[in-house]
C-alpha cells in the first residue's frame, strides 16, 4: 500500500534531517576542516531558499511563456455567427439575440 502524499513528504523530511544530523555530528567531530561547513550547518535554510528560488522562477517562466491563442477566439466568433444562422433557421433561436461577445 503506497504512502499518502503528506506521508511521502514526512519520509523525505525525516531522511533529510537524518542526513543533516549525521553530517553535523561528523563536522563536530572532525572540526571545521572544509569549506562546506556553512552549507552543512545551515542546510535546511539553503533547502528552503533553493525551493523558493525554484518555485519563483518556475512560476515566472510559466507565466511568461503561457501560450495565447487569439486565432481560436477569431475562429469561435466566426462559428458563433454560423451557429446562430442555423439555429435560427431551426427555430431554436427565436429572435435577434443580443451579441454574445462581451468586451473588456
Amino acid at each position: 500500500m503506497s504512502l499518502l502524499h503528506y506521508q511521502q513528504f514526512l519520509v523525505a523530511g525525516i531522511v533529510f534531517l537524518s542526513i543533516w544530523y549525521a553530517a553535523l555530528r561528523q563536522q563536530e567531530q572532525q572540526g571545521d576542516t572544509t569549506n562546506n561547513s556553512i552549507f552543512i550547518t545551515y542546510a535546511p535554510v539553503w533547502l528552503i531558499a533553493f525551493l523558493g528560488v525554484y518555485a519563483g522562477s518556475s512560476v515566472l517562466y510559466g507565466t511568461a511563456t503561457f501560450k495565447d491563442t487569439p486565432e481560436a477566439a477569431k475562429e469561435l466568433e466566426q462559428q458563433i455567427k454560423e451557429a446562430q444562422e442555423e439555429m435560427t433557421k431551426r427555430g431554436i433561436i427565436q429572435q435577434q439575440q443580443p451579441t454574445i461577445s462581451k468586451t473588456k
Partner: protein, 236 residues
C-alpha cells in the same frame, strides 16, 4: 461506440444553441455517434426552454434533458448526467464556449491509439493555451498549478481543467468518491483515478475565456482551492 457529452447548464440560454451546434458539427464531420445530455439546474433565464427546442429539432436520440430543482452543484450534475447517459465514453466539458468541441476527435484518437482511460485537455502543454487572460490571471493559474504539482505529483500538466474524455467505467467508479468543490473537484477526479490504476493522456486545447470582467476567480474560489488541495494532500 456511442459518445455522451454531458453539459451542466446554469443560465446558458445564449450559449447552449451555439455549443450544441458545434458539438453536432464536430461529431457529424468525424463520423462518430453522439448524444448530448443537458443537465439544467432550473436556470432562471429559462435555459430549459432552449434545451427543449434543441431536443425537438435534433431528436431525442441525440438530446436528453435532465432538469433539476435548483442549483445543486457540478458534482451531482455530472452524476445525474451519467445516470441518464447511454454512451460508452463520456465527454465532460463546459457549456459556455470556453471549450471547443473540435478537440474531441483528437481526444478520441488519443484514447484509441494509447488505450488510456482518460484524456484530459491541457492549457499548459502539448500546444495548449488560453485567450482572454491577462498576466495576473496567468500568474495565478501558473502558481496554483505549481503548488498542486509540488504537493501531489500528478503526472498530468493540467489538473484543474474540466474538458475531458472518460471511459464510462472510470466515472462510474470515481465520481461517487469525490468530496472537493470548485477547482479542486477536477483535481480530485484525476488524483483518485490515477490511484485507482486508471491511466491519463493529454491533448493540447485552447481555452477561450470570453467572460471578461466577470471574475470566476475571487478570494472565495482561491480559499476553496487551497482547502481542496490540502484535503487531497492529507487524504490521498
Amino acid at each position: 461506440m456511442l459518445y455522451s457529452v454531458i453539459l451542466p447548464t446554469y443560465n446558458e440560454r445564449e450559449n447552449l444553441p451555439i455549443i450544441y451546434y458545434l458539438i453536432d458539427k464536430t461529431f457529424t464531420d468525424a463520423k462518430l455517434n453522439y448524444e448530448v445530455v443537458i443537465v439544467d439546474d432550473s436556470s432562471p433565464d429559462n435555459t430549459l426552454e432552449v434545451a427543449q427546442a434543441i431536443q425537438k429539432s435534433y431528436g431525442t436520440e441525440h438530446v436528453t434533458i435532465v432538469s433539476r430543482k435548483g442549483k445543486l452543484g457540478l458534482g451531482t450534475a455530472y452524476i445525474a448526467g451519467l445516470q441518464a447517459a447511454k454512451g460508452d465514453r463520456i465527454v465532460l466539458m463546459d457549456a459556455d464556449l470556453s471549450h471547443h468541441p473540435k478537440f474531441i476527435p483528437q481526444m478520441v484518437q488519443k484514447m484509441d491509439s494509447t488505450k488510456v482511460d482518460i484524456v484530459t485537455g491541457t492549457r499548459y502543454a502539448h500546444g495548449g493555451g488560453v485567450y482572454g487572460w491577462d498576466w495576473k490571471r496567468k500568474l495565478t493559474s501558473t502558481g496554483a498549478n505549481f503548488l498542486a504539482h509540488f504537493l501531489l505529483h500528478p503526472g498530468v500538466s493540467d489538473l484543474t481543467g474540466s474538458f475531458r474524455l472518460y471511459e464510462r467505467n472510470v466515472l462510474e467508479q470515481i465520481l461517487p468518491q469525490i468530496r472537493c468543490k470548485g477547482y479542486a473537484f477536477q483535481m480530485e477526479i484525476i488524483v483518485r483515478s490515477k490511484q485507482a490504476g486508471f491511466t491519463v493522456g493529454e491533448v493540447g486545447i485552447s481555452f477561450v475565456d470570453r467572460i471578461y470582467g466577470q471574475s470566476k476567480l475571487g478570494t472565495k474560489e482561491i480559499v476553496m482551492y487551497v482547502q481542496g488541495l490540502l484535503q487531497l494532500f492529507f487524504t490521498t
